[in-house]
């Protein structure tokens, strides 16, 4: 969608280094090439299979095992690995970053990683943390696609000392990839994402776990009758386990706060069921519909019933 509008005459960055080439890293490669905003793209992964796939798929011209090799001559470095790896990677690449380079990331948590990366960034290198709020349940270099960021929000969390030119350049980069960009503090980011992403993932993982360990309902029954609602939860519960482990370990406070609110509200619904308070249930369920309408109006989800799973897209109604 942003291709024609944003394709520049010369690339904004001569070399992009992707530290980690999974769903997000590979999608950045596809989207950056579509937009023509980078000259060369190199990558880095501890996995030989990932490096081989990344080169074979044309995501990167070279794939290194050591991040130090990947950041050489790179004027844009984006960490796309699980947030638990950030500190070690930042410590390793810090002394080897090009003067004037921009360093960013795509992590789903911001406060802790900003501290961990920030301390290793030398003078003259611009660190601005980021988080494109987009994804699918799939993982790995083959999962990426150019449209992933189209119309989605990318949150940047620059501090007060961030270089204005570098910040503007990073904003333009994400817009060229199809994103809309919003700024906020790392702390506020972590609170917002705790409720819009982290707690939803946790309760999805949890109900799948609960369903799998019942004595009176078989796994086969759970699977056969999943179309009643359960299957929607299994989609996000199929997301990368290591990435999500690191999210919860690094956003403990905000997740526990939001989980406390969720559990408190759930107890109120539980009481309403126990005591047969139909009015309370109906009111709660009716209110929830308006949030769905807001999300569709903001183009953050498809209006097709059932996500268009059954070819309902083609229906005339």
């Amino acid at each position: 969608m942003s291709e024609a509008k944003n394709k520049p005459a010369t690339p904004m960055f001569k070399r992009l280094a992707l530290i980690g080439i999974g769903l997000i890293g590979s999608s950045i490669s596809h989207a950056a090439r579509r937009a023509g905003v980078v000259g060369d793209i190199v990558g880095c992964s501890p996995s030989a299979a990932t490096r081989e796939a990344a080169v074979r798929l044309g995501l990167v011209s070279q794939a290194f095992a050591d991040p130090v090799d990947a950041v050489k001559d790179a004027d844009l470095v984006i960490l796309c690995s699980p947030v638990g790896t950030y500190e070690k990677i930042a410590a390793a690449i810090g002394p080897h970053l090009e003067p004037g380079a921009i360093v960013s990331d795509v992590g789903s948590v911001k406060a802790a990683p900003v501290r961990e990366i920030g301390q290793h960034i030398p003078e003259g290198v611009h660190f601005i943390a980021g988080h494109p709020v987009a994804g699918t349940e799939q993982s790995g270099p083959e999962a990426g696609f150019a449209e992933l960021f189209d119309g989605r929000w990318c949150i940047l969390t620059p501090d007060d000392t961030a270089d204005k030119t570098a910040l503007a350049k990073l904003v333009t980069f994400w817009e060229a990839l199809g994103s809309r960009v919003e700024m906020m503090s790392p702390q506020h980011h972590d609170l917002v994402l705790a409720i819009t992403s982290h707690v939803p993932h946790l309760i999805a993982y949890n109900i799948v776990n609960t369903a799998a360990h019942l004595e009176r309902v078989t796994d086969s029954e759970v699977i056969k009758f999943s179309a009643g609602g359960f299957r929607d939860f299994t989609r996000i519960a199929a997301s990368d386990p290591v990435m999500w482990r690191d999210v919860f370990l690094n956003n403990k406070e905000a997740v526990l706060e939001m989980l406390g609110r969720f559990s408190e509200d759930l107890v109120a619904l539980q009481r309403a069921i126990r005591f047969g308070d139909g009015d309370m249930l109906e009111k709660t369920f009716t209110d929830a519909r308006s949030v769905r309408r807001g999300i569709i109006q903001a183009s953050q989800d498809t209006p097709q019933p059932d996500f268009g799973r059954h070819g309902t897209k083609e229906r005339s109604s």
Copy 2:
């Protein structure tokens, strides 16, 4: 899919009466016409707008306000209204049912409704309760479509005294509509659906409610950043509030049992986050993936990443 195979020379039923013409009632009409298994279809709704729409859309030849008028000459009567309406409707239509007619329903709860309907069914009329496990978040007569039941499971809960011929006929009817049919007791149905449908809906409604009432995160932020996972929950939280109120009021025990298990498991994950137990989190998240694979292998969901929301269906990978 089952059209060619199952289309009979003469319709199985001369007149189908749909008591309630919402998403499920209208989909039964579409699917039954596709299969050619019914002669005439009539309907009934307390809403003048629904009756008008049902006739205009060709879902029924006649739409009545009073269910007593709808069941006249009907050899198949299906209750498709919220389960809270069943007892009153059954009491009204009982004396007017045709001898030999089959009476069924599509309610998401079975034990309580089976008792409530059953007591009003006269000798010589065959009552066999049912539940097609299929749906979308949309409601009303315009929401239905012929493919809704294709490949999905329809659960029938006949008791030991059920007429074998009538039961076989009802199985054939649902298979003609595209469903696969499974039998179980009403009590077991309610337990299975509590975990695969009722509790998932409750926690989806609940997190939408929690997110909408936070002081430190705005509604606008919840909507903008919903692509991080939250939006999947809002889909099922957009389902019909009255239908779902009645589900929870009528399946109290099984829902409270499953909710207890869910909350217990959630507390264990909460403790793992609080005390930084990454191994426990990673193991739980990894296990959840296999359930997703089972659902896709059983054709109960689409394997496309992100439900194919972003045109990813067309990608070559």
